[in-house]
Symmetry: D2
Subunit: 489 residues, 4 copies
């Protein structure tokens, strides 16, 4: 087994060492302020991607779009929204590839083809693109972005089907991987999820007032519906293509045979705790993870301390189950912006200290249980353990609310490559030594599945590839994936 | 008694209805990267003021300063810091008056007079300026800003004393009100607090390495020392003037007769929970406020829910004392920027919903206890109560971790005028009706003082004017203060 | 004949009422600082388009591009140029369509297809796109921009030819209209002009030093070669496709049967006077226009006054030929930016006065001859005539250095529609009355052709459609072109 | 005599090597859109300073000011102007000291003192400040800027006179040097010029419509009056203090004994050609300089070529007097912004080539006379001469429309120090060799004075210190002025 070399890792470590989701999507049908509604929805989905955003609207004749780098609130002003007229809109927010072409890859993408004007926004990542792309290029396709989303619209344009909805279904049945997408033509909205339902996508409704028709809303998470006072109706189902038009809502399935494999990490970390994801409250899952962790890995201690904010709900659950008091022994600096000036000489634990400060009032002389949602490279965890000890903690026990992360994700999460994942290369005892904790325990795979309701009647089936290496799509051959590809796919 | 008219208030209410501190100050003596250290210190004091910031350094010959609007991380880049050489620096961060001249009022102020070059940064507000300003103007003084800080440097320039330290002491003994100040000349740093010690100011030390002399740091709160790995030494005392120079640290008192009256609201709300303020851990005071509140105002319920983030620590205390479970029934949107686009038509509870979303998973069917640190106008509290009920809460009991706020502050807190303070014009029962809670209770004055350690041996004496109307400075005559002045002073 | 209604026109008139060229292009092959060379070249072509710009470079493996809104000097900083490595580059500067999608339409366009990576930059406008676009869309083409340039790359991608150069020639032979284009693959540069040679494109060479190979440069005008110390070699010929690769420069013709029709307005107004365009010095043409105008339309006067800067060279010619003194009776304000605040109430001649001020010292009591290059709507000319009279001019005679502009351009110039062109709807006497001049004369068609050397041996053949309505491309049916299309095509 | 070392100079030379004026001032009394009028006035005075600008208005109760870095059109938007209410305004535009404190030194300065609120804007430089500043500091004055203008307001504040107008006159009589100032109190405007009248300041009037009172305007140059449709009334006289109030215009003199010494370089270069300065048309002076130069220094040649734009009017005069044709053999690039990227390796004549391109069409085979207004360091002139030769000029004769510049200015012009002035250290023949011209001649002192009307009845008396070293103020002792001071004063 390869030993992680602490100092090498230190240089690689990003300041806060969290996995990053790549996107959030929104769609609104039938509202006089569709752009504004979409803007607010994206606002509440901002945690799913902070680097670029965009909104496209249709006024029935043309599709207009505005995209930019930065937070939704930075891109869209009142003036900008007024340039986006129409009763239909789709939107996108993205954690994205860097570089000067980032804006070209921002979404929604708006294209014109023999199938008419289409705008599309996509959360997830397609896999096994090679064959499809080659075939399309042989047919003369011209790719202008480096985004895999372009494949979907090229397939629609090249589809031999006769109606647009058939072309879309045809296109979606040809691609593999993760996609929760919203699309818009001049007068229709489409929403679809890949057959495994990797990423969430829900549908809500705002009742029309004064006899006006209802407004339909699609969003990555229900927290966006809440902000818009929209009522959650149901999830778009895996393999389902929903269409909203003048004639109302219709649905069809382009794939009914593939088994569900929803991303369990949405419940562990990504989604907002107040969202219902895959039909289940995230906060409930997380509290239950904490409780289960307390059952599986009890330890005598004085205080349960969450690593903010990712460990908070599980820590509350751990405290409630164990009876050990909960408190914020690590205080977050809320004004940390996207950039700060680093020291010219190396200062110990600097990046983490800018974001977290241990509270000596609480930690001094205490045996503490630190709760976090995952350990990626281990360097941040080590800094936090050290900080707690420096602030007087007598014992530091680390508890993680999911199993060890051993495999990269190819379905829309920006994971480091296998060689950077500490748990892919070390035993739990080695990790414990590396992070310098007095004890370390992870939640079992069964435990996290149970906490997420997988064993309940009608419970979800989950993708747990990051914990098991079992990838639900057929062709992902991890051994053969080059590191560079692994990051990008 | 005047009844608050709900709709009128609604229009006045700022989105989040919190009182705002006006400043944080920093000083560093004897460090080759003084500007950078000051930058980081201000970073951790950012909660004390987000509208402008500045740093001045001395290279022994000249004092250079850079000031700007916005967050510290927005104003200072690596390039900018490199224009600030020297081993001494002072810094300031400000919540400030609006308007285009705001930058002119940013601090530190740098002036030249017969006493040489001086830069000054000030947290607090002076009162009773009339006489001093008139006398100075009669002597030919020219005022270029609308900041009361200018008075202090004019008094220094006009002082008849012969040494600079005597001039400063002379100046400080002539002004009344709240001031925690740091000053810098070409080769010295001064730090002083007003005789009542309204605002905090602490002193820390970073041991020199390799035989180099120690670095001295002054900061509004100890969290700034933590970030710099500086050891807390002591507070600058009320009425004390500390000087750091080549010859080390010296101290003198310019006033020893006035009684301490430190701002209790620093412990209730302003200061970061991980800071030690007036020699006492803030987090300890806040948890104790919650425990005391549980003792004074118990109620049968299923869940203790903090209003994030101001009510969190008190809620943990309330839960611990009462045994009622604690959880985050209100989820904060962390990506709310300083601006967002409001609806064109009035949407119910919009401003608050952008920032907080109730978690139906937790609230549905529950009797909840909402914990907050204060109620200013009442409109935000009402929105939160309504949101909780809309998310399914069966009963909503509001508990406030301090007494009713009935009087404006003249010592550095931006309070609305008396007629806008709901508790100044309504009984507690009227407030309860207005915010639509099932019950409402405030912490007693004795309770908050006890929680802050006022009755312990060597405990602090506090200013509680906002709860009692008893102003520690002699001449503040609240009845005669015009509303406009009340806001501004 | 429709009379122009002064007040209606006034509202439409842009402040300075000049026709606008749409683009300048650059390419550099074989220089270690290719991006930087392209940047400077675009700098000197900035008069051809000020609204967006872009540079793409190839490092042999990938093509990287940066595009932005604004002037070249605003888009490209040293940092940005350093992100553009490689020995080959193409660039583009554009006067462009407005709107938020303008950046998406900025060039160079970079695409990937079965033909590999290609970047393209285009000066001119294609016409008769309908059939080609329809056919491409039937074949599955997906259009992502509203730019006609995309057609060319789609045609290349769909071409059945086997080599890239054949595919490009095939593509270019299928489109009609104006195009001076530069293209780049990973290791080659292509440059081509449409068969009529509407827009200029020249080729230069910088001799290699120390035995290194020569650098090849392509640019819209020779002024870009001058700045780079490149020697002008020759024009890319109408219908020619030039390729530069490791093997040197090769040339082929994709069309040799169509007659040349180069844009005469390049000589009248667009090109910089120090450029050689279509093999002839622009400054020479313009001075000759002024001389010819003096011969054709002499008038007794005291002073020849140019409308700056468009009328300057012709005015010098007019003065030299007529013997009447030349001077700047209208002074230009050089600090007029792209925006200025207009009066809330209508102030007489405001927009023009911000840019030009009459010099009373010169005009008072004088009979003056005003020289300009064209009259589009007439409103600006009227304002200038009035200003001169208000400054004391006794007589104002207007002389225009080309024939009346009666038809819109479809080949890359942003002309107003026919109904806005004053000369399309009024006699010369009516125009004279409208602009309130004492006399008005235009240069004859024969005169402008003679001044541009059309009658000399090997002289150019020119497109004079804007003066005659005779469009050189077959299918432009002006009567059937809708106004909206007319502006855009 | 010290020889200039070409290579050393090259490194120091600013790209375009022109002297820079330091300021333009404006004031408007009695107009409902006073801020807007001032904005436009500053717009037309932008050539007098491009680095910062500001406007202050009075609404009768308060004085509001907005200042910023950059061009007037960049600082002031419609929104900003709407924050500047009132019927009175003063404004300032500045070429200024660099550095981060530049904004603090921007004007107008707004101060409060026992004399009330005052805003002031100043064109010129005070000299011999030492005594006054020392005395003020002894009296307790606190200086917040590094601008000499602050002295004037401190003197007003400390004046023992009883009325404000007496205090101002008292203050102005105590300072020496160059000042054309405008001042504003809550309800009055003051305008004054130093007793020698170094800098211009004129007064105009806009007749009131519909029985409303007239508007009064003060401006550095008459071109600002033209833009506002204000009628030029007269200059503010040297030593005069004009006051405009409800009671109309009153005037008094604070000094009548000092001899006029107006800056001749305003006529040679600074002022706009369409302005009347010191009561005389600038364009007339400049054309006459060119004519006189032709008389004094005739040479056989084919073409008179101006160095744009500074040499244009003199070149027209030279051509008219000599009969040698005039044309633009050097073409200016109008899109040169304030920054452009320089080559990494030194490219010959790069900076100048970015701004000027020689027109080979005109220069090839010609003997040319280059006309410019001055030679400062000589490096730019040499580059231009070389460029002309490279473009084919057979002979290059340089003619300068003023005498050699041998001494720095202390009255508001940013001159290099004596050691950098080529004419201070070299004979004319040495300069000719350095700039590589075939011949070189300067206009004589008598010639420039004659061209500016000094010998006409009631002609102005001029300061010619930059050509003679005779400084009109008593105490300027050039030999004793340290280089650093020389640049700054």
């Amino acid at each position: 087994m390869n030993h992680v070399q602490p100092d090498e890792i230190e240089l690689d470590a990003t300041p806060f060492d969290k996995l990053r989701e790549e996107c959030g999507v929104m769609a609104v049908y039938g509202h006089p302020e569709a752009a504004r509604m979409t803007y607010w929805g994206l606002y509440s989905l901002q945690h799913r991607g902070q680097e670029s955003g965009g909104i496209a609207t249709s006024n029935g004749e043309d599709i207009i779009d505005v995209k930019g780098m930065g937070l939704v609130s930075e891109i869209f002003t009142d003036d900008v929204l007024q340039k986006l007229p129409g009763q239909m809109a789709i939107g996108h927010t993205r954690y994205s590839t860097t570089g000067d072409s980032a804006l070209l890859n921002a979404q929604p993408i708006r294209v014109e083809s023999t199938k008419g004007l289409i705008a599309i926004a996509h959360n997830g990542n397609l896999v096994n693109l090679g064959t499809a792309k080659e075939r399309l290029e042989r047919d003369g396709a011209v790719f202008q972005t480096t985004s895999d989303t372009e494949i979907i619209v090229q397939l629609i344009a090249h589809s031999a089907e006769t109606t647009l909805v058939d072309c879309i279904a045809d296109s979606l049945s040809q691609v593999d991987g993760a996609f929760s997408i919203v699309m818009m033509t001049r007068n229709r909205i489409f929403a679809a999820r890949d057959p495994r339902g990797f990423r969430p996508l829900c549908m809500g409704r705002i009742p029309g007032v004064d006899g006006k028709p209802d407004t339909f809303v699609f969003a990555s998470e229900t927290c966006a519906l809440d902000l818009l006072h929209a009522k959650y109706e149901r999830d778009v189902q895996p393999g389902e293509l929903v269409m909203v038009s003048e004639d109302g809502v219709t649905s069809r399935y382009f794939n009914t045979t593939t088994k569900q494999a929803s991303c369990i990490f949405e419940h562990v970390y990504f989604a907002r705790p107040d969202s219902k994801v895959f039909g289940r409250w995230v906060q409930k899952s997380r509290e239950e993870m904490g409780r289960q962790l307390a059952r599986e890995s009890a330890v005598e201690a004085d205080l349960v301390v969450p690593v903010p904010d990712s460990g908070v709900t599980a820590a509350i659950g751990y405290s409630a189950e164990s009876g050990i008091p909960f408190n914020f022994g690590l205080i977050r600096n809320h004004y940390v912006g996207r950039t700060f000036i680093e020291p010219t000489q190396r200062v110990r634990d600097f990046g983490v200290r800018m974001k977290l400060n241990p509270s000596r009032a609480l930690l001094e002389g205490k045996r503490i249980i630190l709760i976090d949602d995952s350990i990626i490279r281990g360097t941040t965890s080590r800094k936090i353990v050290r900080m707690c000890r420096a602030a007087g903690a007598k014992e530091v026990h680390m508890r993680i609310s999911c199993p060890p992360t051993i495999s990269p994700c190819f379905y829309g999460v920006d994971t480091p490559s296998t060689k950077e994942l500490i748990a892919a290369n070390n035993t739990i005892e080695e990790i414990r030594q590396f992070i310098e904790a007095d004890s370390l325990a992870y939640l079992s795979l069964g435990g996290v599945l149970k906490a997420c309701g997988a064993y309940e009647p009608h419970g979800n089936s989950f993708c747990t590839a990051c914990y098991t290496g079992n990838y639900p799509t057929q062709w992902v051959d991890v051994d053969e994936i080059l590191p560079a590809v692994a990051v990008k796919v």
